[in-house]
Structure formats: structure tokens, C-alpha cells
């Protein structure tokens, strides 16, 4: 083990060709950032809507509650966000709309990338602690994203180029939250 080298990254015995490297090796963050920015511009130009994620799940959840006899679309929340969702609510397309297509696209794209890299693998839950923290984190993130009118994609990533001041406020508090989260992570998860 004396001749370990930081350059000696192995891609499997037959995986020396450039295409395989390109598909298998994670791309640098700047490349992902540039691509995401360009694709978001393209999406806006073609569809008239910027990329957003959590709004689609909000509509699904509200649609499920409706099935149970509740009337979430009459709640104050939807009254305040009426212009954004009015058309979808009016046409009863809470389960299938432009946000659903975007979210399915995210899952499909990730699946294709994993399959092309031969890295598709079903994950498992490691233990009750991991599951409990994931669930708690999901609830906090979901609730927070609804309070601020968008998650880190719709509210921040698409908000900054929209010249929305609220996205900058989001950024400040997301940073504070990430700092706190990192402290909690080290304390409780490792």
C-alpha cells in the first residue's frame, strides 16, 4: 500500500476509454451549475415557467387531502397564492400539470444518468435514526419551502435570476440553516 497515489483513480479494469470516464466520473460543481443555469433559461424560453420542484408536491398533497374530503384549496394559504395555482385548481389538474412533468423529468433524468454510468442501485434505510432524521428533515424543509413560497429550486435557484429580492433573503437564511444543520449533523448523525 506504499505507492498509493491521489491520481490513481480506478474506473474498473476495462473502463479506460474517455466515454466511460465521462459517464461514470462525477462532473465538477461548476459544470453542473453552468448546465443547470442554461437549462433553466431554455425552460423559461420554451415553456414560460422557471424550474420549480416543491410546488408540484404541494399540489399532489392537497389533491390527496381532497380525496379524504378536506377542502385545502379553500384554506388561507391557497387564497394568498391564488394567482400561481388558480388555473391548475380550476382545471382539476393537481396531479398532472407542468410541475408534475418537471418532477418526473428530474427522476427520469437521474435514472438515465445512473443507468448510463452503470451505477443504478437500490438504496436501503440504514437504521431508525437515519429514517427518523430524514423524515423530520423532509417535514421541516417542506414546511419551510411553503412558508417562503418555494424551495431551494423555485425560491432560490429560479428566484435569483428572476431578480426577486426574496431569493436573497432565502439565501441568507438557508446559509444560517445549513450552518446549524451541519452542527446538528456532526452531533447526532456520526
Amino acid at each position: 500500500m506504499g505507492n498509493l497515489s491521489s491520481e490513481a483513480v480506478n474506473f474498473g479494469k476495462d473502463g479506460t476509454d474517455a466515454m466511460k470516464r465521462w459517464l461514470k466520473k462525477p462532473w465538477p460543481y461548476w459544470a453542473g451549475g453552468v448546465l443547470l443555469g442554461l437549462l433553466n433559461i431554455l425552460l423559461l424560453a420554451v415553456s414560460g415557467t422557471v424550474w420549480q420542484v416543491s410546488g408540484g408536491y404541494l399540489l399532489w398533497a392537497a389533491g390527496i387531502l381532497e380525496r379524504f374530503g378536506l377542502k385545502p384549496f379553500q384554506w388561507d394559504y391557497f387564497q394568498s397564492f391564488q394567482p400561481r395555482y388558480a388555473e391548475i385548481i380550476a382545471t382539476h389538474s393537481v396531479f398532472f400539470n407542468q410541475y408534475t412533468i418537471l418532477n418526473l423529468g428530474v427522476a427520469a433524468g437521474a435514472l438515465i444518468a445512473a443507468l448510463l454510468a452503470s451505477q443504478f442501485k437500490l438504496g436501503k434505510i440504514k437504521g431508525w435514526k437515519q429514517a427518523a432524521f430524514a423524515l423530520l428533515g423532509g417535514i421541516l424543509m417542506g414546511y419551510g419551502s411553503r412558508l417562503t413560497g418555494g424551495c431551494n429550486i423555485g425560491g432560490f435557484f429560479s428566484g435569483i435570476p428572476s431578480l426577486s429580492l426574496h431569493a436573497w433573503v432565502f439565501w441568507i437564511f438557508a446559509m444560517a440553516g445549513a450552518w446549524l444543520g451541519a452542527k446538528l449533523l456532526i452531533r447526532f448523525m456520526t
Binding site: 498509493l4 491521489s6 451505477q119 440504514k126
Partner: protein
């Protein structure tokens, strides 16, 4: 030289790195830590960390989508 295994399968970034750093603190110079992970970004992250901290590192993908990251304490 001792070799220790660290099972980080199904764990997301940056937990494997934090666990590895904690484990390496308990080890001696020349010892090797083998981190098992199924997330591609773990190797990238550890490579960067190893470079900064002058650790020798080698990354293998023995199974598709599963990595073994060898870290040797300087």
C-alpha cells in the same frame, strides 16, 4: 500497519467523510481505513480532503455503484 473497515453504505454526503475523519483520529500513522460507500460523490469529496491533509488515497469500484476508498494515514 492496521486495516480498518468503515461501513458507510446507504449514507449520504457528508456523513461518510465526517465518520472517516473521526475514525482516522483513533488510528496510527501508516494504518489504512477502507470506507465502503454507494455514493459517487463520497470519493470525490474524500479525494479533495486527502489532498488537503496529505493522506494517500485510492478509490476502487469493485461492484457497479459501490466504492471502496482506501485512506492511509501519513
Amino acid at each position: 500497519m492496521k486495516v480498518r473497515d468503515l461501513d458507510c453504505l446507504y449514507e449520504v454526503c457528508p456523513i461518510p467523510l465526517i465518520k472517516a475523519v473521526k475514525e482516522l483520529k483513533k488510528m496510527n500513522s501508516g494504518d489504512v481505513l477502507v470506507v465502503h460507500s454507494d455514493e459517487s460523490c463520497v470519493g470525490v469529496m474524500m479525494e479533495e480532503w486527502a489532498k488537503q491533509n496529505h493522506y494517500s488515497i485510492q478509490i476502487e469500484e469493485p461492484k457497479d455503484g459501490e466504492w471502496e476508498i482506501y485512506l492511509q494515514k501519513p
